[in-house]
């Protein structure tokens, strides 16, 4: 299955892109997706990371399905 991955702010700068796509086996979750992303982008490991799936905050054990939108970002700093 295919998952769209979005980066913002610091994670976009580190990844050198704002968006990518990863392929995962069935019954996957955020943790498995993150492992896949970190293989390509090991520098992201030094950041505190937050996640969302389909624009809702998620944790490492949040499940992911085909076509989902995963976002990986640092703690927010708006305001």
């Amino acid at each position: 299955m295919s998952v769209r991955v979005l980066f913002f702010g610091a994670t976009a700068d580190v990844a050198g892109k704002r968006e990518t796509s990863i392929d995962l086996g069935g019954n996957s979750n955020v943790g498995a997706a993150l492992e896949s992303v970190l293989r390509d982008q090991p520098s992201l490991q030094s950041y505190k990371l937050l996640f969302s799936v389909n624009q809702e905050y998620a944790e490492l054990d949040t499940s992911i399905s085909d076509g989902d939108e995963l976002a990986i970002f640092t703690p927010v700093s708006g305001g």
Binding site: A71, V76, S77
Partner: protein, 146 residues
């Protein structure tokens, strides 16, 4: 009459404050956040705000819904600016109208604290000798349903 917006143009706070006023209300409390010139002694030349826009709007809507459950308020307006901001320009305005000002103060203070914790917007500070994405200091929100 609630509203929540992400805009790239300057924010006029009078307009924001006025849009939340219903006839029965007596007070509007407005938080106007703006670009500081100095952070920890380092001079900022300008700032840049970026958002995960659809999720930011969802989170702003949730904040307003929660505030209206928890406080006796009538209307809430939240406008956050994105893109490049010069020193002194308003980055965020939160206006809360209520029949009694106490609830308006409490809700406005709660809303800005939660916005800084939950709404996916990031600030980049640009200095003479570089730039830094500011990392939020607050704990991330608990995940409903996990």
């Amino acid at each position: 009459m609630d509203f929540f917006e992400l805009i790239s143009e300057p924010i006029d706070i009078t307009t924001v404050a006025r849009r939340v006023v219903p006839p029965e209300c007596g007070a509007t409390v407005t938080l106007d956040g703006y670009v500081r010139k100095f952070t920890k002694g380092r001079e900022t030349l300008h700032l840049f705000y970026e958002a995960y826009e659809p999720m930011a709007l969802k989170e702003m809507r949730k904040l307003i819904e929660q505030a209206k459950r928890d406080f006796e308020i009538s209307n809430v307006g939240i406008v956050h600016r994105l893109g490049r901001l010069e020193i002194g320009e308003t980055s965020v305005v939160i206006s809360v109208a209520a029949p009694h000002r106490k609830a308006a103060f409490a809700a406005c203070e709660w809303l800005i604290r939660e916005l800084k914790r939950t709404v996916p917007i990031w600030k980049k500070e640009v200095y003479a000798d570089g730039e830094v994405w500011v990392e939020g200091e607050s704990e991330p929100p608990a995940v409903a349903g996990g």
